[in-house]
Structure formats: structure tokens, C-alpha cells
Symmetry: C2
């Protein structure tokens, strides 16, 4: 391993760049995403994503995995904590080339695409991609107006699934709809039970066919456009009309996996 | 309605008290919990919880529901935003007497008790109580070491369910276990699939009997004590070994409701 670079100043251009990326919840100026835990770094190393650089606090040196050929910069603990977006940093920040996926890769096999329709909370967005991978979804789409997949908080909540699940982001709903038509994918939208008696429950809907699942924004739910274009399905509940968006998405994905695993 | 009090200074004792409660994620010095959205205020008014005081920004006056007999203080917008724990405050902070529940109230009817075993994220804790209400759980237990139900973030994530679902907090695991034995409640613990081939999936386990579901901490999962005392059940997944804690809890509760609704 090459000798690590030493960075001691908050004025260092790389430090400033990473801090800005964390602050605005996006990529660095070089287009790298910021991963803030040892676990995420390990997941990135195991994935096909390229780790471009690692910043580590001096006290975290022992925890670092093998970084063959990867640039490493060592920082004083206080400086790394200052950059970090977490309350108690693990002392590691990895800069990773985000994966690039082609549309057709989202529809491979028995298609199951989860579509984030304007979700604002990166924690929810990341947890949904994590559940998508857990239940064998073929891909994820972050529609325009949704939290960024490259927000360090989204990445963290995905627990590394964003390094593996094929996804597209900033996508126009019209383009997504055209892609669903072209790939003969049935489109379901998660709606609250109160929407009407004509809405099928997720257990009644056929989730074994190639399908896309639209998950709405935390406040307003699924947008009017998708309510029109998609068939509404609801999670049957006893008492409240809605669930946390990530919980609802997780249940839909679980139900799809349950139906698809039936002998 | 009585004439509202006017508060203009950040040095006002009530302002300082509310700010401290939000800062440390707990109750005010008078033992009131802090609810930060109009929706939560409305949910509290509809519940059996007593709303003790409302603080409102001048610009939010029009949005206030009827507050018969409830003390109201008006604040300049900038001061209310300064107190608020949210990035873009809705301009309303309600102080609410937390509900008090007795142990037996958690086991009413066909018991289904969700147990939070050291969860740290108030967003997860609140989303779980929201799902508990949605799927007809009889109660929730926040074991010692779990995020506080009175953290304004927990309350917000519960979307008001904490005003209605019977719950206890700060409970010792030993006491909880004794209560389960006394009430003849079967105890299941959510464990990752990898734990072993002997673990039943949640679809195989009988969730129609009176039962408690132990949901583990985000990092370490269910504690060793509950692994010993409870029967492990797993959410069957394809790829990753774990899910976000609130997503996993939501799926367990959905499955329990599904089994209990079967004709």
C-alpha cells in the first residue's frame, strides 16, 4: 500500500469538497458519492463500484479493511468528525464512483421495480432500496423530485444495497411510464385503504407478474399522475389510514416475494 | 377563547423549557411531551390526552384548530422557528400530558404486543408504533435503553399513534418477561435468516395466538437475553441478511394481521 497522504487543515480542497457534498446531500465535485461507515466501505469494496479514495481518522486506522491501490488520506480525529454528517463518526469516509445502470438492467428476470415518487426522507429512500434487495426486486427508480440516492444519508440507510440494486434517478414520470409499457410491466400504486372499495389489497393483487410498485411521498402519497396511470393497491390495516412510506414499501415487497415463492 | 399570551423573548422560561426538551429529546420540566405539527395537535385533541398549552407562530394563527379552554401563546415566527426541532417548522408546538397506561391494558383482547429492544432511532421507534396501531396490536413496550417515546421525533414518526396505542417505557426486560408469562403470551423475537435452519419464518409461526414480538436494536439486533427467552422467527429474504428495524417490525405486524384476518 502506498504511504497515506496526511491532511491536517480544514482548508484542504478535498476536505472542503467532501464537507460541501455532505452538507448539501449530494456528490462531490468529482462526482463521487460519500460513504460514512466502515460497513459501507466494505460493501463498496465487495461490489462492482470503484472506491476512489478513503479518508480516515488517525484513531480509526486499525479498523480499515485492505485498501489495495486505493488512495488513503489520514486526518486528525477532530477534523474528520468536523467533516462528518453523523453525530458520532466511525472515523472513515469513503469516496466511491457511483454505479451506472442501463434501463434494461432494471427489468432483468422476473421484473419487480420499486418506484420512489417524490419521497423526501433519505432514510426512507435508503430503507426501501435495502428492502428491494432483500426481497429480490430487479431494480429501483428515483423519480424526479425524490431524495437523491447519492445523499450520504440515503446510502447509509440502504446499508450498501445501493451498490448492488440497479437503479435510475431524476427520471421523468413520462419516461418511466413509457419504459413500463415497453417492458410490459404492470404498474401498481400503493394507496391508502380509504381511497375506495374498488381498490384491491396487496394480497388480492397478482404480484407474481412483471410489475412496478409506485411508493408515494410521505405527506401527499402517490401523485395524481400515477393514481391515473397505475392500479391502486392497498395494505389492509385496522386503524390508521397510512403507514410510514418505507414500512409500506417493505410490506409490498414482502408480499410480492411471498407470492413469488409459493410452490 | 381566552386572549392569547404574547411571548417575544427567547429568555421566557416556557420557551427555554420547551427548547431544552426538544434539544434532549424528552419531556418538559412539567412532564409534558412536545408535539410539533398541526396534525399531531389535532390527533392529540381527538385522543384522550390532555393538551396543556399551545405555542403558535403569528403566521400560523389561521391554521390552528379550535382550542377551547387551552392556553395559547403567540410568538414571533423567528422565535418559534428557533425553538423548533424541525428544519421548516409549521409554526405550532403543542404541550401534551402524556398518556398513562396500566400493564393489563397492553394485553386486552387478542394480545399482540410489540417490544422495542434497545432501538436507538426515534424515527424507527415512532414508525413501529404507527404500524402497531395500523395492524391492531394491543400494546407496545419500550424496554430500558430504547429511544424515548416522548422524544418529539418519536412522537412525530408515530403520526399520533402514541396518543392511542397503550404503551409502557423504560421497562426492565425481566419484568416484561414476567408479564408475558403471567398473561400466557408467546414470545417471538425477530432474528435474521442466517441465525440457523431451525428458525421458523414469520409465515410458518403461529401469530394468531396471544403473542409478543421482540424487535432488536438497529445494529446488534435482538439482545442475547431475548434470544434465549424467545422463539426466533425470521422474515424470509432473498439477498441481504437484515432489514431496517421499522420495516422488519412492520412486516411482522402485517403478517400477524394477515393470519388473524383469515376466514
Amino acid at each position: 500500500m502506498a504511504k497515506p497522504e496526511m491532511i491536517a487543515s480544514a482548508a484542504n480542497p478535498l476536505v472542503k469538497d467532501v464537507r460541501r457534498a455532505i452538507g448539501r446531500g449530494g456528490l462531490t465535485s468529482q462526482g463521487w458519492c460519500v460513504a460514512e461507515t466502515v460497513h459501507l466501505l466494505e460493501e463498496a469494496l465487495r461490489s462492482r463500484c470503484q472506491v476512489r479514495q478513503v479518508l480516515a481518522a488517525e484513531s480509526a486506522r486499525e479498523q480499515l479493511p485492505a485498501l489495495d491501490g486505493i488512495r488513503l488520506a489520514m486526518l486528525p480525529d477532530a477534523l474528520l468528525q468536523k467533516i462528518s454528517g453523523t453525530e458520532a463518526s466511525q472515523g472513515v469516509i469513503a469516496l466511491i464512483e457511483p454505479p451506472e445502470w442501463k434501463l434494461e438492467q432494471l427489468f432483468s428476470g422476473q421484473a419487480l421495480v420499486v418506484v420512489l415518487d417524490g419521497l423526501q426522507d433519505p432514510g426512507n429512500a435508503g430503507a426501501i432500496v435495502r428492502a428491494a434487495e432483500a426481497f429480490g426486486a430487479s431494480g429501483a427508480i428515483f423519480l424526479k423530485g425524490t431524495a437523491s440516492p447519492f445523499n450520504p444519508k440515503t446510502l447509509r440507510a440502504s446499508a450498501g444495497s445501493l451498490f448492488r440494486v440497479p437503479f435510475l434517478y431524476g427520471m421523468d414520470p413520462g419516461l418511466a411510464h413509457a419504459a413500463f409499457e415497453e417492458n410490459r410491466v404492470k404498474v401498481y400504486a400503493a394507496v391508502p385503504t380509504r381511497t375506495g372499495a374498488e381498490v384491491r389489497t396487496i394480497a388480492e393483487a397478482d404480484l407474481t407478474q412483471d410489475c412496478a410498485l409506485i411508493i408515494g411521498n410521505e405527506g401527499r402519497g402517490v401523485s395524481a399522475e400515477w393514481r391515473r396511470l397505475a392500479e391502486g393497491v392497498s395494505v389492509p390495516t385496522v386503524a390508521v389510514e397510512s403507514l410510514n412510506a418505507a414500512v409500506a414499501a417493505g410490506i409490498l415487497l414482502y408480499e410480492a416475494h411471498r407470492q413469488r415463492s409459493r410452490p
